[in-house]
Symmetry: C2
Subunit: 236 residues, 2 copies
């Protein structure tokens, strides 16, 4: 039996923001019906095309959500971290999964069965609205990203992604972005070739916008990056 930093049995979803509108009773059944597990880096939670039985709440760790395009090139849709839920889209549509998900930092996740989700929607309108808001937020991001990919250069997009990573993940004491991505993964977010990312990162490095240390990236000239990213003022 593995030693865990926190016991899986003790995990409760009561403090999960997503469930803030739940009654005492609802929380109790939820905590009873969920199944928590510890998953190692590299694990694939589900694959595109598979049938899902529930959604996952991320207690800890980072999960990569991606689609496989042609030539098996993956396109990263987003990263999910503590407090996020994943796999709810296909679940709600009652379709096979349209994305895959892979653990890229050791994680603890709770699986909540479809039936439980459906019950909450049926009984708790406030929960439905929370859920609707989450899907809507994701849709907004997606539309925004479509516009970016369609109109911006790779350089602009990389700058933007770096800013996004900075805002999404904690910085350590040295202000270094706390997510470890391969160059290829960065390329699969930006939607470009690995070599292009390498060249651009090295260029950003030379022009003192960032500092590179293996996979660790530190932003040292934020305004400079923002300028390159060409953000639309009112949307970011």
């Amino acid at each position: 039996m593995k030693k865990l930093d926190e016991s899986l049995d003790e995990i409760t979803l009561s403090s999960f923001r997503f469930f803030k509108s739940l009654s005492e009773n609802e929380l109790n059944s939820l905590n009873y019906e969920k199944t928590c597990s510890s998953v190692k880096k590299g694990t694939i939670l589900y694959k595109e095309g598979s049938r899902l039985t529930g959604f996952y709440c991320i207690i800890k760790g980072i999960i990569k959500i991606y689609k496989t395009g042609h030539d098996d090139k993956e396109q990263i849709i987003r990263f999910a971290k503590q407090g996020d839920i994943i796999a709810y889209r296909s679940l709600l549509s009652q379709e096979l999964a349209s994305t895959s998900s892979k653990v890229i930092e050791d994680a603890i996740v709770c699986h909540v069965p479809y039936k439980t989700l459906l019950n909450l929607i049926e009984k708790n309108p406030a929960f439905s609205i929370t859920l609707l808001r989450i899907v809507c937020a994701e849709l907004k991001e997606a539309n925004s990203y479509i516009t970016d990919i369609a109109q911006k250069s790779v350089r602009e997009r990389l700058a933007e992604i770096l800013l996004l990573l900075k805002d999404s993940f904690e910085l350590d004491s040295e202000k270094t972005i706390q997510i470890s991505l391969t160059r290829e993964e960065l390329a699969n977010m930006v939607g470009t070739a690995t070599e292009s990312i390498i060249r651009l990162l090295s260029e950003f490095n030379q022009s003192k916008l960032i500092e590179l240390n293996g996979r660790k990236i530190k932003i040292i000239n934020l305004p400079g990056l923002i300028k390159i990213a060409n953000l639309t003022p009112h949307l970011k």
Copy 2:
């Protein structure tokens, strides 16, 4: 007073698929609270950044939903037609509109106030689920399109868009796609320059994949186009 092909007062949303789960009572209030209007081609229903007071049901016509990127270049997100609803995303998130919408074919739309929507979500779980499914479907499309734009060539994307238009809009007796888009609008869907679209359309034309007649496009070699589009088998 304009002569209309159908009286605005007589319009009822009872047959609208989106409202299929509504009770008699709910339908009555809905029909009472909605406001229908006839809108001419070229009209802008709402603009990015504006505050919305409700969503719209499209009874007739075609509406273009788009975002304005940098350099004022527009990115078309989707087209809404009979049976679709628009503007619900920002409404549900209670944010300023993140897209603009313009009538591109004379339309009849019904405006439903936010309050009415909220009431339905509160009282009718089946309606919430319908709504959730719609947002989820749109999110799926968006994710799919992100992957396409990021990985496919302009030629592939144009072929794909033509197929999408063919499936989304009625064909006339001559199998011509019944939506009239400028080359620039096609470019703003595909995410490329107008000139590129012109050149590719002309190439498709010469290789007998399509037939051009002004803005009317007729697909004459469907398998050929599908091959060029490089569709992912299980997703289209």
